[in-house]
């Protein structure tokens, strides 16, 4: 094969990136192995630390290298070509990272590296157990970025430093031209949905939350290996609390982003990707409660282990679900399959087997388990089906073995449960959280079960109804437990008298408050009133607990404050979704008769034509463009004319994704008015204009067209701004157009410059006329020529949807309170 010398490429930076990926991979292996032998060996420990720091630096280096490529628009790199473009503002360049999979794995690695660097000084005697697990995770993650071919069969990972021409040369011969870069002036750009402030901060927050779940996991595994079944809790707990806080924030940020800038009309749609982040959080919260039980009462050991391990495994499983392409059409989030499905599966299997190996105390047995598992993991890319089913059955067997072995090892310290103790009800609460998580993940995993068992089931036709049906009763039970849990004491029965008194005060207050809330919100469905009561009960009970039992000492109140926030959040969810009202209910549809069953939630608004929607007269007043975005000016005037506001929902017509609409929302304390565009007229282009005719005109002439009469008043000299037009002479023709939409004036311009001349077209698509004015020389000197093009009139309109969300601020307020609670709890557990 001939070598082609390509022109204009920046190869050094890509080679540096490749090198750093390999260095990160190798240093992760080295650090992990050195750490395994570091327990009583000072030299190994220092070497292990050094290699991990080297690893962390190379991970940061990869990130910076990729950023430099994106920032400098080196489109010879596929990643920059596919995920960025020149017009992208600086602040969104960083979003390009998480549009692609490689970038999101990189983000995860960066956070893991940061966590590792924090664990080195802070994990003390746990360092030699925890760090190999961090290194193992980093090894697996960096392998995803390797992009190294093994023979012709198999590529390990997908490198973000791959050159565009290498990927594309078989498909497009242009890439064999040495000067191909001249043809690639710009990248294909970033998905407009990601060009949003929330999309800059939501993914890093969520990934930090995901990354944090590995820390309690690593402590748990170390506890298992070392048989410190209680000792691992104390160092792991603050990490778990911070993880719960960050992951929870990340999930809600995603909801807020969806609400503010997505057009599905809400903050939560039970989309597989949302579910995939919710489930690890639910398990982590359950795990935190079990860790607390274990810490204080030394019971629930097995459950604490299982949940802390499960929350991390579910993070990996969620990654597999969302990144392997297995979800297909079931998700609005589209991720392309980079061929990493196999590697992601290996990732999950490796970490499932860590705890199983840890409880297997017999070394021969460890090898007996380990060797076949490693063998099938390595064989997976080559014998997909066989290796997959072998790994599946081995892992299921391994999980059963794990439960049996752990139960056998720990059965001695079983004690009689006290049904009147706090730990009993916390345990029940944790189990209910698990129930919630199981329900969500089982339905979300339908496409996976289809693949594994060869079924043909499709997800429920109404996902929101489906999930709500199960999750609502679960939430009722959880809020009740949240309310009463703290009034019980660890290990002993509470003072019955005080307990009764507290219960009476709280229930009384909650009932009164619920009645008030149900009246003002309003909530009328009995089942919703019950839910409203249990949420209110949770809020009141936890506030009362802080006042009466903790005497307002904030540092001890983390748990109660988090519970208050949780309750407020759920009230916000209930009220905003139960009373959400689509005010664009169209009753004028002609095409399908009148059918009450059919939802007709979009309204057509003709320009300048007020329409009564709910309590507002709504008028579409025009549009304006800012770059690729078109903003539609929609005025709301209340029926009593007391207040008026204007919203600017925007829509971007991209050739790739169709109409990208971003809603605009008017926020009030008690409700939001949410508006988004669902359809706009087809944009006017050259094909719109059909009949084109030229007329020589004199002032006072009238031209009849099929769309109206055009009266030429005359022409005059005009001014135009701009450096290039300094020496230009500008004339404008003053036209009056009379049509069914009334009388309008328009003035097409003609520009005469020393070297050139041109007319500027004026389009009136709503009337169906386009004008071009020119002055041409003739025998007598000059004549005025008017070119008129006609088209079918295109009335200016928008089709939009407007929704009123009442009390949605309770949801955001609740989230903030909950995050504060988590933070306080983490601070308390650090001491």
């Amino acid at each position: 094969m001939d070598t082609i010398l390509y022109e204009g490429e920046h190869l050094f930076i890509g080679n540096l990136g490749h090198f750093l990926v390999v260095l990160a991979f190798v240093s992760a292996i080295a650090s992990g192995i050195l750490y395994l032998f570091s327990k009583d060996n000072k030299l190994n420990k220092n070497l292990a630390r050094g290699t991990f720091i080297l690893h962390a630096l190379s991970v940061f280096g990869i990130f910076i290298t990729l950023f430099v490529i994106i920032q400098n628009h080196y489109f010879e790199y596929q990643y920059a070509y596919q995920h960025s473009s020149r017009e992208l503002p600086m602040k969104y360049l960083v979003s390009c990272f998480w549009e692609g999979q490689e970038g999101s794995f990189l983000l995860w690695m960066v956070w893991n590296a940061v966590l590792g660097l924090l664990l080195i000084p802070f994990s003390k005697k746990w360092e030699s157990g925890v760090m190999p697990i961090m290194a193992l995770a980093q090894l697996v993650l960096s392998s995803m970025l390797l992009g190294i071919e093994v023979g012709d069969l198999y590529v390990i990972g997908s490198s973000p430093f791959e050159l565009l021409r290498v990927k594309m040369i078989d498909q497009a011969p242009i890439f064999s031209r040495p000067d191909y870069l001249n043809f690639i002036q710009d990248g294909t750009g970033l998905n407009p949905l990601l060009q949003n402030y929330w999309m800059v901060i939501h993914p890093p927050t969520l990934f930090l939350g995901f990354a944090l779940t590995i820390v309690p996991f690593a402590f748990a595994i170390t506890g298992l290996f070392r048989k410190y079944h209680r000792g691992w809790i104390k160092p792991a707990l603050p990490w778990a609390l911070v993880g719960g806080m960050i992951l929870g924030t990340g999930i809600i940020m995603g909801g807020f982003w969806a609400y503010e800038s997505l057009s599905f009309g809400g903050y939560w749609a039970w989309d597989p990707v949302e579910n995939a982040s919710l489930v690890p959080w639910l398990l982590l919260i359950a795990g935190i409660h079990l860790m607390l039980i274990k810490k204080v009462t030394n019971t629930a050991t097995i459950a604490a282990y299982i949940l802390v391990i499960a929350s991390f495994i579910l993070v990996l499983y969620a990654t597999f679900l969302t990144r392997s392409g297995v979800l297909g059409e079931t998700s609005v989030h589209s991720f392309t399959d980079l061929g990493l499905a196999g590697q992601l599966m290996q990732f999950v299997v490796i970490f499932i087997w860590l705890p199983i190996i840890a409880v297997t105390r017999n070394n021969k047995l460890r090898w007996g388990f380990g060797i076949p598992v490693i063998l099938f993991i390595l064989l997976l890319p080559f014998y997909k089906t066989v290796a997959f089913y072998m790994l599946l059955s081995l892992s299921l067997g391994g999980i059963v073995w794990f439960a049996i072995a752990l139960n056998k090892e720990l059965s001695s310290n079983a004690s009689e449960d006290n049904v009147w103790s706090r730990e009993f009800w916390m345990f029940i609460g944790a189990l209910i959280l698990v129930l919630s998580a199981v329900q969500v993940i089982v339905t979300t995993s339908i496409p996976v079960f289809n693949k594994v068992f060869g079924l043909n089931a499709a997800p429920p036709v109404d996902p929101v109804g489906h999930y709500n049906k199960y999750q609502l009763p679960i939430a009722i039970v959880i809020t009740i437990l949240t309310a009463i849990g703290q009034y019980f004491h660890y290990r002993k029965t509470p003072d019955k008298k005080r307990f009764k008194r507290d219960l009476l005060i709280v229930i009384g207050a909650a009932i009164a408050l619920t009645a008030f809330e149900a009246y003002i919100y309003p909530i009328r469905t009995p089942f919703y009133i019950l839910f409203l009561f249990t949420c209110t009960y949770a809020v009141v009970a936890n506030i009362w607990y802080v006042i009466s039992h903790l005497k307002g000492r904030l540092i001890l109140s983390g748990a109660s404050i988090a519970h208050v926030g949780f309750g407020l959040m759920l009230i916000g969810v209930l009220v905003s979704s139960a009373n959400k009202r689509v005010i664009t209910q169209d009753r004028s549809g002609l095409m399908s008769g009148f059918d009450e069953q059919v939802r007709r939630e979009n309204m057509l608004l003709m320009k300048d034509n007020p329409t009564l929607l709910g309590n507002y007269w709504v008028t579409y007043q025009g549009d304006s463009s800012h770059g690729p975005d078109v903003f539609f000016k929609v005025n709301y005037m209340s029926r009593d004319s007391q207040e008026s506001f204007t919203l600017y929902p925007n829509a971007q017509i991209s050739s790739n994704e169709g109409l990208m609409a971003n809603p605009d929302t008017r926020h009030y304390i008690t409700y939001d008015v949410y508006t988004h565009i669902t359809s706009i007229p087809k944009p006017v282009d050259s094909t719109t204009w059909e009949k084109v005719q030229e007329y020589v005109v004199q002032p006072g002439d009238t031209i009849q067209t099929s769309n109206g009469a055009v009266f030429f008043k005359g022409m005059e000299q005009a001014e135009m701004q701009g450096d290039k037009l300094k020496d230009a002479q500008v004339f404008k023709a003053n036209l009056v157009v009379q049509s069914i939409s009334g009388v309008k004036e328009v003035s097409p311009m003609y520009v005469l410059m020393p070297n050139t001349y041109f007319g500027i077209r004026e389009e009136m698509p709503e009337i169906g006329l386009r004008f071009l004015f020119e002055i041409r020389p003739d025998e007598e000197g000059a004549k005025a020529v008017l070119e008129i093009a006609e088209a079918k009139p295109q009335p200016k309109y928008i089709v939009m949807k407007a929704i009123i969300f009442p009390y949605i601020n309770l949801l955001w307020l609740g989230t903030i309170v909950m995050v504060i609670g988590f933070g306080l709890a983490a601070v308390q557990r650090l001491k």
Binding site: T188, V442, N456, A458, V461, G658, S679
Partner: protein, 132 residues
Amino acid sequence: MKPKVIALIAIMAVVIAVIVASYGETSTTVTFTEAESNPDDDFYITGQLMKDMPVEYDPVKDPNYFSFYLKDKDGEVRKVVAHEPKLQDFERATEVTMMGTARDDHFEAKKVMPKCPSKYEEELEPAQADNR
């Protein structure tokens, strides 16, 4: 028996019940003929968009009426009606997955999910043309 064990068993039973019930609610991807034999149920149908038949959407007449023709995997062609605005560039879709109910003369879609050719393939075409 210990109360915790009882609770554990009870919740396990609920978990199993919920899983079984959840599976009762799953639907299947079917053909038009199958959907028409159960006109009360919702189904998923995947098919090819008929490019040479009209995709109708005139918001001035009715902003909540959008129709097109789809050929399912058995080759049956039906008119599909959705009560929502047409997705921009819907005409470019090749495959469409939708959820809805069979009616007498059409299929009533509650959710329409078009699958467009990826932007990557689109980008390639001009590049190839350029070289020829």
